[in-house]
Amino acid sequence: MSRTPRVILSLSVVAVALALISIAVGAYTLSLPDLMATLFGGGTPSDRFIVLKLRLPRVLLAVLVSIGFGLAGALFQSLLRNALASPDIIGISGGASVAAVLSLLVFGATGLVVPLSALLGALVVAFTIYLLSWRSGMNGMRFVLIGVGIAFMAQAVLGYLITRGDVRDAQQALVWMVGGLGGSSWGDILIMAVSLAVLLPAVVVLAAKLRMLQLGDDLAAGLGVSVQRSRLALIVVAVALVAIATALVGPLAFVAFVSAPIARRLVGGGGLALVPSALVAIVLVLGSDFVAQHLIATGAQVPTGIVTGIVGAPYLLWLISTTNREGRAS
């Protein structure tokens, strides 16, 4: 436990540094004093335009959705006691994407309807998996396997919708497939901020119950947790976190999946590591977005989700191989 405050502090410092760099650096780079002046209400009109209209919204949205992705992954992985059980692997982000794209392209929805559709789609997927995997008890592995199947289905439906729909813009289509921060607006930021304001207190209350559920259903029930109700509430909250984030920026590949395992490795000690997971997600997304914008030099911008995927996939391999080694040792 003693490592947690240090890890939180270090990750916060890295996150703030990355945020400042992301806002300052670009085709037009601001000096640190100019940046600070602009952020705190001063600055030239052109600096103000670049910072407040172009770069700050992108960074703020990146931070807020990362909290959603990081927490959702941590909650799902602990709840199902399975490191593979993150919403992007088991099709819940996919369900959100499909529903968001469906509402946008087929029904011409705008504004709040899109994230609400994503939420609905993700909930439908989550409870479909829940019902299909239920056999007089909850089995994490069965949940994951059914979820992986559903993730492929969601990907197929998404591909179909995008080809059938009138998406001329390949960039936009890619955002729905892998996620990107290109279209960040203050409206999106408001939606995510309000969602977090509602969902984070629920996470705080449910975290205590989740710590008991980690010990197995029987022990949790014996300690006074109403197992079914708590699990249901946790699923709804985690699904909402990931679905709303996905509706705004797409499924940012692997962020939900890798953040909690990295955070737990840094912290150690078998806790939920919720705050560190959210911070790792922020660092990962800000770093990946910076790479996507500035370090991969192509004509068109690379969606952020491509870079998180490049970071996440090798990490998955490393994680699996080291976990096996430790598994044999114990």
Binding site: M1, S78, R81, S136, V205, A208, R211, M212, Q214, L215, G216, D218, L219, A221, G222, L223, G224, V225, S226, R264, G268, G269, G270, G271, E326, S330
Partner: protein, 270 residues
Amino acid sequence: MTQADVPRRPAHELRADSVTLNYGGRDIVSNLSVTIPDGKVTVIVGANACGKSTLLRGLSRLLRPASGHVMLDGRDIHSVPSKEVARVVGILPQSPIAPEGITVRDLVARGRYPHQGWFQQWSAADDAAVEHALVATDTAELASRRIEELSGGQRQRVWIAMALSQDPDILLLDEPTTFLDVRHQLDALDVLAALNRERGTTIVMVLHELNLAARYADHMVLMGEGQIIAEGTPAEVVTAARMREAFGLEAQIISDPVSHSPMVIPVGRA
């Protein structure tokens, strides 16, 4: 904490009133009534699949009876808020799960959950309970180790420590000695016997090993096919005729030279 300032437990009544318990539509325990003697060590024994673990699940409100009631202090246990039950009744199931990487102290501390409210943070009483649990189970020197690093015997003592930190007046345990060698079986049972003796905690456990059951039990419940065949002191319950009835076992009963409890010497199949 010294023995003198450890208060004796308040008295409780836990009983099953004509309960029928089923899994997947099949009655495992049918129309069974039993009262758990307060402040005693009760051991439930019986052949495999006789319903002894199911009865324990029923008594600990993990399994809701299909009919009948489990009563705790005169109230149906399912009508009492679960956290309130957890402050009186503790249950250590057969295969609890330790989160990967958790330390002994953190695991034991999780037993304090029923004593914490929504906003009430960790208190000095919580610390004291955890310390006491670690000392009572002889796991204090393991406190900062990770569970994965421990032997089976140490691990089982840690789980018992977690149940102790919950500080229940009645502690139910489902085969707490499974997978332990004989010395570690005795270690675990001695911890529980001491808990009963020093603090008056009521212990109810399912055990496989008949001779250990007879040695540690004040009260024995012998089950067969979802019913109670006999209950009483070990001397009353462990008889040649009953062993034949419950286990289909031809056995001689002698007096255990160490504890003078009845001891089963198997002869063969009845």
